[in-house]
C-alpha cells in the first residue's frame, strides 16, 4: 500500500520493526472554539505500555477516543502501524479516508471504557462473541470456545449466561476486558477502567490487566489515576497538561524524580495527600 503508508516510517521490510504502533503527527482537536489538543506529536512503539497522566481536561481521554475514531480529528494525522487512520496526505492535500479503510484498521484496536458499555440486551457470552462472529467471521462454536477461555482467564467462568446488569461493576468490567480481547487486538486502549469501581474491587480488575500485560505483547495506551498500576504495567509515562506533553519518562523516573514543575505539582496533588497508591502496596 505505497499510497497509504506513513511516509516517515518504513522505508522497506528491513525496518518494519521500527514502525510505531501509534504515531500522532501535528494532531489538533477542537470542540468548537475549545482547543483540547494542540500540535501533538508522539509515538508508541509496538508492545509499548504507555500511561497518560495529567489533570482532568488535559486531553488524555480525547487521545484514546481519537485512536478509536470516536472523535473526529480536527487537524493532523494519526498513523496505526504506519497506516493513516482517518486522514491521509494525498497530492499535498489532507483528505479523509474511506469508512471501509478506517474499519480495517479499527479492527486491530480494542477499547475498555470507564462505564464498561456492555450490551445489556445480550448475555455475557453474546457480548463477547458478537464481534468475533459478525465482524471477524468466526464460527459461533469457535468464538464461544475462545470466549469461555477468556471468561476463565478473567475469573468469571460461570457467568457466560448471566446478563450484564446482574453482575457487579467489577465483574462487568472484567467481561468488558474479555470482550475487547476476543477481537485479538494489536492495540488496547484503557480509558480510566477502574474509575467507576468501588475501591475494594479496583485491585481485581488491575490484577487482570497486569496479567495481560505480562503474558501478551499487546500495545497498550492507558489513561488512569491509579499511579501504582501505571508504575507496574507501563514502560513509559507521559504527563499531559493543556493539550500538550509536558514530560515523558520511564515510570521510575516519572514517579520518583519528575523534572517538570507541573508534573511535580500534579504528582504531589495525586500522591501527596497520604492515600496515594505509590509505596502503599
Amino acid at each position: 500500500m505505497p499510497t497509504t503508508t506513513d511516509p516517515h516510517a518504513a522505508a522497506g521490510d528491513g525496518t518494519a520493526a521500527a514502525v510505531p504502533a501509534i504515531r500522532f503527527e501535528n494532531v489538533e482537536k477542537r470542540f468548537g472554539d475549545n482547543v483540547v489538543l494542540k500540535d501533538l506529536n508522539f509515538e508508541v512503539a509496538k508492545g509499548d505500555r504507555v500511561t497518560l497522566i495529567g489533570p482532568s481536561g488535559s486531553g488524555k481521554t480525547t487521545i484514546l477516543r481519537l485512536v478509536m475514531t470516536l472523535e473526529s480529528l480536527s487537524e493532523g494525522y494519526i498513523y496505526i502501524d504506519g497506516e493513516p487512520l482517518t486522514h491521509e496526505l494525498r497530492d499535498g492535500k489532507r483528505v479523509a479516508r474511506s469508512e471501509k479503510a478506517q474499519k480495517q484498521i479499527r479492527k486491530r484496536i480494542g477499547m475498555v471504557f470507564q462505564q464498561f458499555n456492555l450490551f445489556p440486551n445480550m448475555t455475557v457470552l453474546e457480548n463477547i462473541i458478537e464481534a468475533p462472529v459478525h465482524v471477524l467471521g468466526q464460527s459461533k462454536a469457535e468464538a464461544t470456545k475462545r470466549a469461555m477461555e477468556l471468561l476463565e482467564s478473567v475469573g468469571l467462568p460461570g457467568k457466560a449466561n448471566a446478563h450484564p446488569l446482574q453482575l457487579s461493576g467489577g465483574q462487568q468490567q472484567r467481561v468488558a476486558i474479555a470482550r475487547a480481547l476476543a477481537m485479538d487486538p494489536d492495540i488496547l486502549l484503557l480509558d480510566e477502567v477502574t474509575s467507576a469501581l468501588d475501591p475494594e474491587i479496583v485491585g481485581e480488575v488491575l490484577g487482570i490487566l497486569r496479567h495481560i500485560a505480562e503474558t501478551t505483547d499487546i500495545t497498550m495506551l492507558i489513561v488512569t489515576h491509579e499511579m501504582q498500576f501505571a508504575r507496574d504495567v507501563s514502560n513509559r509515562v507521559m504527563m499531559f497538561d493543556g493539550g500538550r506533553v509536558v514530560e515523558e519518562a520511564t515510570p521510575d523516573v516519572m514517579f520518583t524524580n519528575p523534572q517538570h514543575e507541573r508534573t511535580q505539582a500534579f504528582l504531589h496533588a495525586v500522591l501527596g495527600s497520604g492515600d496515594g497508591h505509590i509505596g502503599t502496596h
Partner: protein, 217 residues
C-alpha cells in the same frame, strides 16, 4: 318496544356488533398497528441516518400528518382513491397516521440508549446495520413497548371514524340496526361495552409487559 332499555333488542344487535368487531375493528387494529410499528421504526431510523435537509423534510411530513385530523385524512384518501376498497384505505390511513406518532416514540427510545452503547459498537468495529439491529433497536424497543401499546389502544378506539368512509365497523353496524328497529340505545351501549372489554385487559397486559421488560435485565 318502548322504555329506555330493551333486552330483546340488545340480544338481537349483539351478534351483528360482534361480527363487525371481528371483521373490521380487530382486523384494522391489528394490521394498522403492524404497519404503524414497522413504518414508524423505519421513519425513525431513516431520519437519524440521512443528511439533515432530508431529515427535515421527513420531519415536516410527519408533523403535517399528525397535525391534521384522521377523519380528514380518511375522507381525503377515500375520495382520491375511489377504486380502492374503503376497508383497505382505512387500514393504510390508520397505519400511516399512527406511524408518525410511533416514529416519535421510537426516536425517544433510540435517544434513551446511552451514547456509550454506540461507542462500544464502534470499538468492536460492528457495522452500522448490525449496531442498529443487535444493540440499539432492541434496547430502544424496551423503552417504547408501553407507549406503542397505548397508541395501539388509541387507534383501536379511533376505528369508529371509519364509518365516515362507509366501512361497517361496530358503531356503523349499531346505527344501521338502530335505524331499522328504532332502538339506538342498546346498540351504542353495547358497542361501548365491547370497546371497554377489549381495551381494558389489553392495557393491563401492557403494564404487565412493561414491568417484565423493566426487570428482565
Amino acid at each position: 318496544m318502548n322504555g329506555l332499555w330493551d333486552w330483546d333488542a340488545a340480544w338481537a344487535v349483539l351478534p351483528e356488533l360482534l361480527l363487525a368487531f371481528v371483521q373490521v375493528t380487530l382486523i384494522v387494529t391489528v394490521l394498522s398497528t403492524a404497519i404503524a410499528a414497522v413504518l414508524g421504526l423505519f421513519i425513525a431510523i431513516l431520519r437519524m441516518s440521512v443528511p439533515k435537509p432530508i431529515a427535515a423534510v421527513i420531519t415536516f411530513i410527519g408533523d403535517f400528518i399528525r397535525m391534521t385530523p384522521i377523519v380528514v385524512q380518511l375522507l381525503f384518501a377515500y375520495w382520491t382513491f375511489l377504486t380502492i376498497e374503503p376497508l383497505t384505505i382505512g387500514i393504510v390511513v390508520f397505519g400511516i397516521h399512527y406511524s408518525t406518532y410511533m416514529a416519535e416514540v421510537y426516536r425517544a427510545g433510540i435517544d434513551s440508549v446511552p451514547t456509550g452503547q454506540w461507542e462500544a459498537t464502534t470499538a468492536l468495529s460492528m457495522s452500522k446495520r448490525r449496531a442498529w439491529t443487535a444493540v440499539i433497536v432492541p434496547q430502544a424497543l424496551r423503552a417504547t413497548v408501553p407507549a406503542l401499546g397505548n397508541y395501539a389502544i388509541s387507534m383501536f378506539k379511533d376505528t369508529p371514524f371509519l364509518l365516515t368512509i362507509g366501512v361497517v365497523e361496530m358503531v356503523r353496524a349499531g346505527l344501521t340496526f338502530g335505524g331499522n328497529n328504532f332502538r339506538y340505545m342498546e346498540a351504542i351501549t353495547l358497542a361501548g361495552v365491547i370497546f371497554l372489554l377489549a381495551s381494558y385487559p389489553t392495557s393491563l397486559l401492557i403494564s404487565r409487559l412493561e414491568k417484565r421488560l423493566a426487570y428482565n435485565y
